[in-house]
């Protein structure tokens, strides 16, 4: 049990997927201008990343590795993720319309979110067991949400500050992300 807690903490804080592994930066900058969109995106990522992590682990272990087809990993993972996103979208629309309305446009965007694909590939490269893959997928997703929501909070206040013209918008966003990344950098000594 202790191992899983260490794994979870290292995935959420130390190897934070956005700020230490540099994955998923397009939605990080794109959806962080408002708190509302940041929360929507984080929820959608938690939802899809856990399912994608589990399914790609099963596909890799029981299909690709069994038949020596590892070179098809890239193409099969992206197909799994794309069809999963499509399926989740249809399922939510039919059965949980309230959640569907909340996640809205963020669901289709997740197909091209490299945090999802990246976390799935890390699970395979690190040779995690099924439970480890489940824990790490969930923790990566929580770390994504944590960083995104923190960043959105900071960014909402930057609007009020007087920023020099060439630094405005994305540029100051990146510098802010750098400072946020520096604070997460401090967790490095924890485990």
């Amino acid at each position: 049990m202790g191992d899983y807690i260490v794994l979870a903490v290292s995935c959420i804080l130390i190897n934070n997927i956005l700020l230490a592994q540099y994955l998923g930066n397009c939605p990080f900058l794109g959806t962080s201008k408002k708190m509302e969109t940041a929360v929507g995106m984080s929820m959608a990522v938690v939802f899809v990343l856990v399912m994608a992590g589990v399914i790609t682990w099963i596909v890799d272990t029981y299909v690709l590795a069994q038949f020596g087809l590892e070179y098809l990993r890239t193409i099969s993972f992206i197909l799994v993720i794309a069809s999963l996103v499509q399926f989740v979208e249809m399922f939510l629309k039919k059965s949980i319309p309230a959640l569907y309305a909340g996640l809205g446009i963020f669901l289709p965007l997740i197909t091209t979110n490299c945090a999802v694909m990246g976390a799935c590939l890390i699970n395979i490269n690190e040779e995690y067991t099924f439970v480890q893959a489940l824990v790490s997928s969930f923790s990566y997703a929580v770390g994504f949400g944590l960083a995104l929501i923190l960043f959105a909070g900071v960014r909402e206040r930057i609007i009020l500050a007087r920023v020099p013209k060439p630094l405005q918008d994305t540029s100051i966003g990146l510098v802010t992300a750098g400072i946020l990344s520096l604070t997460f950098f401090a967790f490095k000594g924890m485990v």
């Binding site: 994955l23 998923g24 890239t74 091209t112 694909m117 994305t170 990146l174």
Partner: protein
């Protein structure tokens, strides 16, 4: 369609240079630019995929139904990424190890999908090839430049093909490498400041 082929090519080099003007595909930009060499290697791999996917998307644009176009684009792109992966394992193995999971992640690089959707699906084969080549070269130059700045300050060297071509320590023995630059926070700050510089130069 008034633009000439040369203009389609040239817009990728300055007007719409990725990742500065089109803020897309940031993950590899931040992750692999610890050295010039990695940056350029990643840029070239992306260029190959970009040209291949633009070519095939524009060739097949009349037979792909609009409703399932994204799925078709992703399959075309994933095929080219697999080709690059296998080629790099065969001919550039050390670089392949350094770039790690960012090679398979070209599949989800928004620049490649973005150009397929915004350009290749609507334009002819030659224009799409020119667009892919221009965007690819622009991306490679940006990655190389960012990698150069980070490596120069972060480790005090510039490395090409495994050999250090330039070392600050030879000229200034008391130089201390600025380790912040090669770590994650440095990547964000450095890219932000370079974007600021581009805005400053471009606004005149």
């Amino acid at each position: 369609m008034a633009k000439s082929i040369a203009q389609e090519f040239a817009k990728g080099l300055w007007e719409e240079i990725p990742p500065f003007r089109l803020v897309l595909g940031l993950c590899p930009v931040l992750a692999v630019t610890k050295t010039v060499e990695n940056g350029i290697g990643m840029g070239l791999a992306t260029t190959f995929v970009l040209i291949g996917s633009n070519l095939f998307v524009s060739l097949l644009r009349n037979s792909i139904p609009a409703k399932v176009r994204i799925a078709c684009f992703i399959i075309i792109i994933a095929t080219f990424v697999t080709v690059v992966e296998l080629l790099m394992q065969a001919y550039a193995y050390p670089l392949f190890l350094k770039l790690g999971i960012f090679i398979p992640l070209i599949v989800v690089n928004c620049i490649v999908l973005g150009r397929a959707e915004a350009f290749a699906f609507k334009n002819g084969v030659v224009a799409s090839l020119a667009d892919g080549l221009g965007m690819g070269i622009g991306f490679t130059v940006s990655l190389g430049a960012l990698g150069g700045v980070r490596e120069f300050f972060g480790s005090g060297t510039l490395t090409f093909w495994e050999k250090p071509a330039f070392e600050i320590a030879n000229y200034a023995p008391s130089f201390q490498p600025f380790g912040f630059m090669v770590e994650a926070p440095g990547a964000f700050v450095c890219l932000g400041l370079m974007l600021c510089l581009m805005n400053l130069v471009g606004s005149e």
